[in-house]
Amino acid sequence: MISIYKRPYLCTIVKKEETAPGIFDMTIISEEITRQAKPGQFLNIRCADTLSTLLRRPISICDIDKEKKEVRFVFQVKGEGTRLLANRSLGELLDVLGPLGTSFTVDNSFSRPALIGGGIGVFPLLFLANAYRSSMDVFLGFRTKEMVVLEQDFKRICPDTVIATDDGSYGVSGYVTRLLEENIKQGKNDIVYACGPEPMLKKVQSMCSAYGIPCQLSLEQRMGCGIGACLVCACKIRTPKAWEYKHVCKDGPVFWGNEVLFDE
């Protein structure tokens, strides 16, 4: 039987910055989380101790600093929960459950991974990029120029990081998936990691399948417990004969592309 139990951690907030309108870059201290965390995993955060937002909010780990015991995450203010989180002050204690879920498979035998992220999906990729020693391609898509975040962080690891904006106001114009397609058409990458909105993931999945390249997708779903007990965060995963509902919080958020079945 287990002798050391998991528990929610109360972590001091040590950094908070609004790096784009409504996008907050936050850092907390937790030895336990930095010790355990792997790229692709997430935290389930109690944004505030209030009945207004009862549930925790899943937020990906964006990066860790083991020496400083720092856990960094970036989030967009969407509704009440993230709004309350953005209002928390430096020095306050944040109630955090994690690291949770599966992680991206980091395998340095891949010759050149491609990382592709859209919107809030770019955040977990930084941790992944940091975990690779090899050279790689990074494609990041944002809605518009002012929403571009983490550019310098990625460029430090991967100088050729390509930024695309939907409206062409910064970097390449259009969807990042087009950039990825050019790359894999030319056989440049032997694995793809993707995180972002569902249409993007679908596109990556179908492209990778067409070109026979393995890919890993990070899914999103509304969560209850975040640890696999309540079964609310269902996603369709292929079985030999058909499909079954697996759960984003425990079986995911990272799945192999060929496992995932998207609804039309």
Binding site: R7, L54, L55, R222, C225, I227, A229, C230, L231, K250
Partner: protein
Amino acid sequence: MNDANMKVSICGVELKNPVITASGTFGFGREYAEYYDLSRLGAICVKGLTLNPRQGNRPPRIAETPAGILNSVGLQNPGVKHFIEHEIPFLKQFDTKIIANISGNTIEEYCRMAEILYDSGVDLIEMNISCPNVKQGGVAFGTKADTVYHITQEVKKYCRQPLIVKLSPNVTDIKEMAKAAQDGGADAVSLINTLLGMAIDIYTRRPVLANNVGGLSGPAVKPIAVRMVWEVASVVDIPIIGMGGIMNGEDAIEFMLAGATAVAVGTANFIDPLACVKVVDGIRNYLLSYDIEDINSIIGKVELN
């Protein structure tokens, strides 16, 4: 005072304390076993089981509402046989009681499950006749007194273990349902299951839940649940397991004063994986600070104004 008696008995089954996990919020215990020793619980009531495996409803299956949540899991579960083979051995490692929560589309299905559970080693069976998330049967069984009576009587015939009937709050008169369960031979009743609710996203103009409607649970429902437990306590002699929005020891005491012999903790597990053990500790603290030697002495002891 150094310690207080926390033991309660549900139809002959002794629980070391009155705290039970609410079905469907605790899986089969595996996940929470990583957070604490499950032996600290009075009993574990597992995820709702059906005769055959079920995939459940499409996601999203959860919506947050003021001080509550709506869920529409729709009884995703691996089936009762898988439970017996793969989950009971795990649960048996812990010094606690096991409650199997069963749901069916027909009375026959319920009876079949009771039969299958006969030698399974579960300590109690909780019959869910109130799940609002399945189309056939489901809630319908729990909303008419004669049906409650009939199904209880039938299923009871096949039960080796004491039978708990879990009541739906979506009724005009919960007392009638509780009496019908008692008359049908139920050894205990549990309440409340979730209240049927709906949340609409005004920007997409669609219900948040893929299933459109779902079951409301959490602190929001507590006053309704306490009222129903109190009403039921006034008409039945069998023990009551009270639940609905319990977040801490104080809430649990409120249910016990209203008439519950034991309590179940559901939604709170999602907010704090240690919720159940904190409820246990909270109950003990209350007893100690008010010099109450035996928890049984407060059951149903609300004094009316």
